[in-house]
């Protein structure tokens, strides 16, 4: 807790020293983001299996972003779904698990050390992330359904670099002349590290009494495990603005979650390559 307070205070102190940033990075916008992507999901729930399950997944995200020269705020919902298979020494084609993940992120970042590098901005702040992980694996009989939830308060850092092409250029590809127009582009990398992670997970025996007590299955034997587990995520993206103020983006998203060692843990990781559209609703 002390670390968090210290971090937040430091960020506020640094952000007070903001000066006029360069024009491009100071641009204010409010965008809706729609993202689709494909990736690789892997998970392992030690309560039911020591094997890692891995497979392809598809994802979709919806986000609302508000940015200006000093602050970046965003709220986004992500949903990933796909089928996974155990990484086993046997051919277990009949054992397959379906997994889906729902994530809600709210991030608030403040610019620090403005002007310290040309065409580069550094932001820091916090992200509150909630995630629900759902898996179905019929091979696990009464443990076929797995449902886990978690909330993490994460420290966030975002490095933004203006990589715009400011002058048009002519190049030749296989003797064909091509004119490259001016483009407004940025590259950013955001890293989030969980500081306080809480999860909601089935108890010691990983089973529910509710099946045999004729009651609603949740909360059942589920326990709230405060300050337990790990969570990291990051985004690496290149964004290009269009002439109408909207933008397109190619990004790589990575998310890792572990429920902690109180009971046999759940580990979950997503690597996803996605394409986004940004619709700017604040034209200036």
């Amino acid at each position: 807790m002390r670390l968090l307070i210290l971090l937040i205070c430091t960020l506020f102190m640094l952000s007070k020293h903001s000066s006029a940033a360069d024009e491009y990075l100071s641009r204010a916008s409010r965008d809706w983001q729609i993202r689709g992507g494909v990736g690789m999901t892997s998970f392992r729930d030690f309560a039911t299996s020591p094997l890692t399950y891995r497979g392809y997944s598809a994802g979709i995200s919806l986000g609302r972003l508000k940015t200006d020269s000093l602050r970046h705020r965003s709220f986004s919902i992500h949903f990933y779904s796909g089928n996974t298979k155990p990484l086993s020494l046997y051919d277990l084609r009949t054992i397959e698990a379906h997994s889906s993940v729902l994530m809600l992120d709210y991030a608030r970042l403040y610019r620090i050390r403005p002007g310290f590098l040309k065409r580069t901005a550094l932001f820091a702040g916090a992200q509150l992330s909630a995630n629900g992980i759902y898996r179905v694996n019929a091979g696990l009989m009464n443990n076929a359904l797995g449902l886990d939830g978690g909330v993490s308060l994460m420290a966030s850092f975002k490095l933004l670099r203006d990589v715009s092409r400011t002058e048009s250029r002519r190049i030749k590809v296989l003797f064909i002349p091509i004119r490259l127009k001016e483009r407004n582009r940025s590259l950013y990398w955001q890293f989030n590290g969980g500081m306080f992670n809480t999860n909601f997970r089935n108890g010691f025996a990983y089973g529910s009494l509710k099946q045999t007590t004729n009651q609603f299955p949740l909360p059942g034997d589920y326990r709230l495990n405060a300050f337990s587990g790990l969570r990291f995520s990051s985004d690496l993206a290149i964004r290009q603005w269009l002439s109408n103020g909207n933008a397109i983006q190619l990004n790589y998203h990575w998310d890792f979650y572990s429920s902690g060692r109180k009971f046999e843990p759940l580990e979950f990781a997503i690597h996803s390559l996605g394409f986004s559209f940004f619709f700017n609703t604040r034209r200036s």
Partner: protein, 338 residues
Amino acid sequence: MKSQVFIIALFMLTINVCLTSCEKAFIKPNQASKDPYANFEYLWKQCDEKYSFFELKQVDWKKVHDDYKAKIYTGISDDSLFSVMGSMLNELRDDHSNLISYFNVSAYRNSLKVQPNIFWRTITDNYLNKSFVTTGPFVHDFLSNGRVGYIRFAAFTGQINSGNLNYVLNRYANTKGIILDMRRNGGGAVSDVFALLSRFVEQETTVFKVRIKSGTGHNEFSNPEDARVKPASGSSFKGKVILLIDRGTYSAGSFTALGMKALPNITLMGDTTGGGLGLPNGGQLPNGWTYRFSITQTLGLNGENFENGVPPDIYQLFDWNDLSRDEVLDAAMDELLK
């Protein structure tokens, strides 16, 4: 510009490598293993920590470990390893304990170790009309000139719904009573248990209690929770009911028997059920085989443990010397008509 593209590419590559390394730093490598000792120890430990009936069944699990580990050797075939580990699970004397591989399923098969108390052909040949009715999972008909309803319920297939229950109970609403025959009902969907019980209660009723393993000690359990049944909105049966049970009545069948034992208008007749009142889990071994074993205990309203079987109120056995009569069914009809 070229240098900028190069820097970007290098940046992305560095980040990717860092992220992948970061993830691997926090998770253990995949633990897939064909090592027979690793798989044996994994299964033994899972049972040791989570199985719910060691004390009741007086199983010395550490001795079982030593006895069966001695049968394993490096290079043992899959078939032999399966045989050893399946036999180890059978020491639990619990049909909810199974080892499942791609080539075999181990089972204790308690129902094959006891005398059956029903012969279905005796009932179809000598008691039912040839036009008996099948409604969902129920086979049913009138007996004793329409004075008794007979309902055969052979398995909990998860098919019970308000439609088939309403039809069956309405059909026998004007009889002197019904016989619900669950002999050799090996269980299935637990949801069916409460769907069935809800048609025989007039107010919310606690029918049994359940507790789950909560720690590694053999006797570490959660506090018992009540299993309650509310009256269903559809048809219910207020008359006398005889539930027929035997050693083949297992799992969801035993849950139903225990639940009905708590209801005043229902009499249990036949033989003690086979038990199976622990809810099984499900898990996977490092070699990919799967397993299950009981992780809960079900207790009577006074805390009695019926894992070894729910006893009948009236003890009655089938006479295998005369296949023209079902003595259990005869006794049930006599009980309803007296």
